[in-house]
């Protein structure tokens, strides 16, 4: 972050770029500027049911989710076979892939090639389905 800031000229911001004309000649693009790209519109389908969480651990890399990433969770979606979910298993909040095999439900991660099959007595509750991962590239 520090080196990023050094590269920026003093006073510069990293907000959306807007055409500014100091002279009397108006920018021909001015009438078309509508605020730039709003990430909320891309990433959040419905504000009401969307929650963001931070990931700790390395067991979901095959799903593209890495240690330190933020995930976007939509509670309104139904869980299907293959959904990557936030699930509370016996008191612990986990990121896992939901596996349905007949009557059996399993939770899959990179920790083992086979899903952990949920047994009677397990307390399981799905918080929501992950729709996006905000991966930190650097």
């Amino acid at each position: 972050m520090a080196e990023d800031q050094e590269l920026m000229p003093p006073g510069a911001t990293q907000g959306p770029v807007q055409a500014v004309s100091a002279m009397g000649f108006p920018s021909p693009a001015r009438d078309y500027f509508d605020g730039g790209l709003d990430l909320n519109r891309l990433l959040v389908r419905d504000r009401v049911s969307t929650f963001i969480m931070r990931v700790s651990g390395h067991a979901m890399q095959s799903a593209g989710i890495f240690d330190g990433d933020e995930v976007i969770v939509d509670r309104s979606l139904s869980v299907r076979h293959g959904s990557v979910v936030i699930v509370n298993l016996n008191g612990q909040m986990l990121v896992r892939r939901w596996q349905i095999d007949g009557q059996q439900v399993g939770l899959l991660s990179d920790e083992s090639p086979l899903p952990v099959i949920l047994a009677e007595g397990d307390e399981v509750s799905v918080f929501g389905v992950i729709t996006r991962c905000l991966h930190h590239v650097r």
Partner: protein, 430 residues
Amino acid sequence: MSADHVSLVDVNNFYVACERAFDYSLRNRPVVVLSNNDGCVVARSQEAKDLGIPTGEPFFKIQRYMDSHNLAVRSSNYELYGDMSARVMELLGRFGTWHEVYSIDESFVGLEGNLEQVRSTAAQIRAAIDKTIGVPVCVGVSSTKTLAKLANHIAKHNPGLGGVCVQQLMDPEVLGSIMNRVPVTDVWGVGRKTGAKLAAMGIETIADLQAADPLAIRKKFSVVLQRTVFELNGQRCIGPVEERADRGQVMFTRSFSTPVRTYEAMEEVMSIYAQKAASRLASEGRYASLLTVTAGTSRFARGEASFPSAQVRLPRPTRDPILLSKLAIAAMRDLMQPGMDYVRGGVILSGLSDTPGEQQLDLFGQNVDPAAQEQENVSSVVQDISLRFGAKSIGLGHAGLARSPEWSMKREHISQRYTTDWDELLVVRA
């Protein structure tokens, strides 16, 4: 022909529900949420109610339950509750033909259709809020607001109903026995004092009030209570409700975690609270004509007490944070006695209107006082920024501090601000 019905939707034990939505370890055990400054109990889970912990109980009195009954304690997490409330209200707005927010966790919602359709919509509302937001609600439906409140009360106290009660679909005998049993003080808008007066007249239960003579009630009490009688008989006469947190004023009063003794520290308090109140007004699009400042020493302290309070009539309706903050500081400076231990302070804005006062303009439509105009401009920039980036993003003088001053609220048992702060997201294990 489809009819219009009134429903009252509220979240069960709202503050506790918000905590439990993220912290699963709080489920199936007693939980209480404490007031500002961790003073006393303001919200209880059902399990805590079953333990006999009353609302308003000082924290130190229930500490023993933490070991003996696995009681969990949380400080009020207003950021979290505010965000969760906004989600609930937005979702409710999608279901109703009309929607009136009544408090942070309660709304009246208009529902259309026949009774069976309305029951099914009410059940859908309950399921949708539970799934997409993760908090439990009860829905009461009837023909008037007062009866919808009653239906909600019935839904809440009869788990067998699945959280939904349509009053008109109830067994008349069951309904009758409830009306004959439930005290009149459980009716919406009937307080303890009115209840005592009613009881003296032999009106003790809801059924008694329903059967009372509206004219007599109006003469003895007020037109407000007369309306309640009409509403209990299915006649809709209570118009749009104002939000319960008294729409007539905006108030910022809090207890301090460490006493404030000096002019300087009190200035800080007044400045910050005035700016917060001003920014609340801006978000509601309103202006104040009266400013009240208060402070107080502890009621339990020995020796001299001091409860300064002053009202300042504003030159014109305003929400200018600079002006309000200056006036609040000046008013309190005149009243407080330095050296006393002030444990509370507050700023209240009232006499609210939807339009600003007339500005004095000169012949050319220019503001007479350029300094005033400049101040107005700075104020609106401050307001814009705090509306867009949150209350802590910008402030004048003291309120601009990123770190909370030492007198700010004590919140030792606070959970994370899961939904409003990037540094406090819930961490999940992968």
